[in-house]
């Protein structure tokens, strides 16, 4: 059920690009000029993960988002069975290069991660966090507005998807 929440609506199928190119092609940064991209590049954090390494856990406080620059990331959700009250992790989706995750944490205050992200293979992720977003808005308000407008678009699209799914589920329940 959570699957659609984690699906990348803006997925692109290209490989082996530099961090700059990956940033430029991400929806959040696609309106930025080369100079602005350069500034963002000096603010973001490139992190490497080993196979099976946890990126973040469900329930932890989230500080920002990650763009998958290389590798595959598995997204799991802890599901509790109503009958036995036992819980188990269910794989809900796999994120590949250029997908991004955790974007809601950029706007939430002390928000918790709604799923667990684990590297399925050796991964390189681009971390973009709330303090980084605040730094951009301070240092270059116009750049910050461009990023925030795109972030609004992403969150809006996710909300629209969620609303659509809820409507569908309601219809199914009525049947």
């Amino acid at each position: 059920m959570m699957n659609f929440m984690w699906e990348n609506l803006f997925r692109k199928d290209k490989n082996n690009r530099t961090i700059t190119a990956k940033l430029r092609e991400n929806i959040l940064f696609q309106d930025l000029s080369p100079l602005e991209i350069k500034m963002v590049e000096n603010i973001i954090h490139v992190r490497n993960y080993r196979t099976g390494e946890v990126i973040f856990k469900q329930g932890e406080m989230g500080v920002g988002m990650y763009i998958v620059a290389k590798g595959i990331v598995n997204i799991y959700v802890e599901e509790v069975e109503a009958a036995s009250a036992d819980s188990h992790s269910a794989l809900i989706t796999q994120l590949v290069e250029d997908d991004f995750l955790g974007d809601l944490a950029l706007v939430e205050n002390n928000g918790r991660r709604s799923a667990t992200a684990i590297a399925n293979e050796e991964c390189t992720l681009i971390g973009f966090f709330k303090p980084d977003l605040i730094e951009i808005t301070k240092r270059s308000p116009s750049t910050g507005v461009k990023v925030l407008m795109r972030l609004g678009e992403v969150l809006g699209a996710r909300l629209r998807e969620t609303t659509g799914k809820i409507t569908e589920l309601k219809k199914e329940l009525r049947k």
Binding site: R47, R50, G52, E53, V54, K57, E60, M61, R139, S140
Partner: protein
Amino acid sequence: MSPALAKSIRRERLIKLIYFLGLVLGLLLSIVLISNMLVSMLLAFVTFYMLSPLVDWIEGRGLSRVTATSIPFLVLSLVVVILSVAVSPKILGQIQSIQENSQKYIDVVVHGLQEIESKLNLTLHNIYPVDIRGQVEPFLISWAAANFKKLPEILSQSVTVMVMAPFLAFYMLLDGRDIIRKILGFVPNHLFELTLNLNDQIGGQLGGFIRARLIETFFISLLTVVGLMIIDFPYALILGTFAGIMHIIPYVGPFIAAVPAILISVANEGGMNGLIGLAIVFSVVLFIDNWILVPFLVAKIVDLHAVTVVVVVIAGAQVAGVLGMIISIPLVSVFKVSFLAIYQHLIDFRD
């Protein structure tokens, strides 16, 4: 995940953590151990936090980081040069005058103590002989020697600090974030978000605290200087600056700020009128501080308990004398802010 892979990840995390902690510890040790570095770094941090919003604002207007950092430094240098030309001869003259008259002021203190001592001995009928003068006089003479006669040495250290602090502050503003980002690169993945957020929170609170204290110090100094000038009191510039700095120490600071002025007034035989004038000036300043400045800035100033302040000031004085007294409170405030931020963060971060 296989046990071998899990072990390998744990090993990598440990190595990264050791490197990160080693780097932070090395930086801290170099600050403490290298001569003049601690004071230079403290001043650089103060300058960094003071100018950082301005630099960000200028950069936000479309200028490069180098230009945005250089402009406030050029303006600040210009202000320092103008002040040096206009005010420093007066301040140096006042310091020289205090230095020349230091024996007179010590004599006043010793004489006062002598009177208290004789009155106490008279009251106690010499059952328990009191010798305050014998105890305090050598201390006062050595203190005066340390602070006035060693003035050239203190000044030469000050010159080193005055050159190093702006240099460090400039590069902190220019490349500070990049350096922090590189240091954060050593943090293991499972602690990365926590460390990044913690760094941001501590930086934010520290910036607010330092800016609030600077504003408070500036206004207290200005008000005291103006007040002392109105009552035509000597050494207004020095005593005003001293009062502003002393107000950094909560509770006891405002009273310490008044002590030199009272001594000078007594030594110059200013009489009761002089003391009343001083009482009015320092009371008005204290009133403005407590009722206008502190409530206005209170959210930014770390609240320390009175007992903590006294203990910290005594410890600071024992470790590094007058300088220790002044910097102990900001240092403890920094530790308190960091400690609370880390505690809150550890509570909040994990499920």
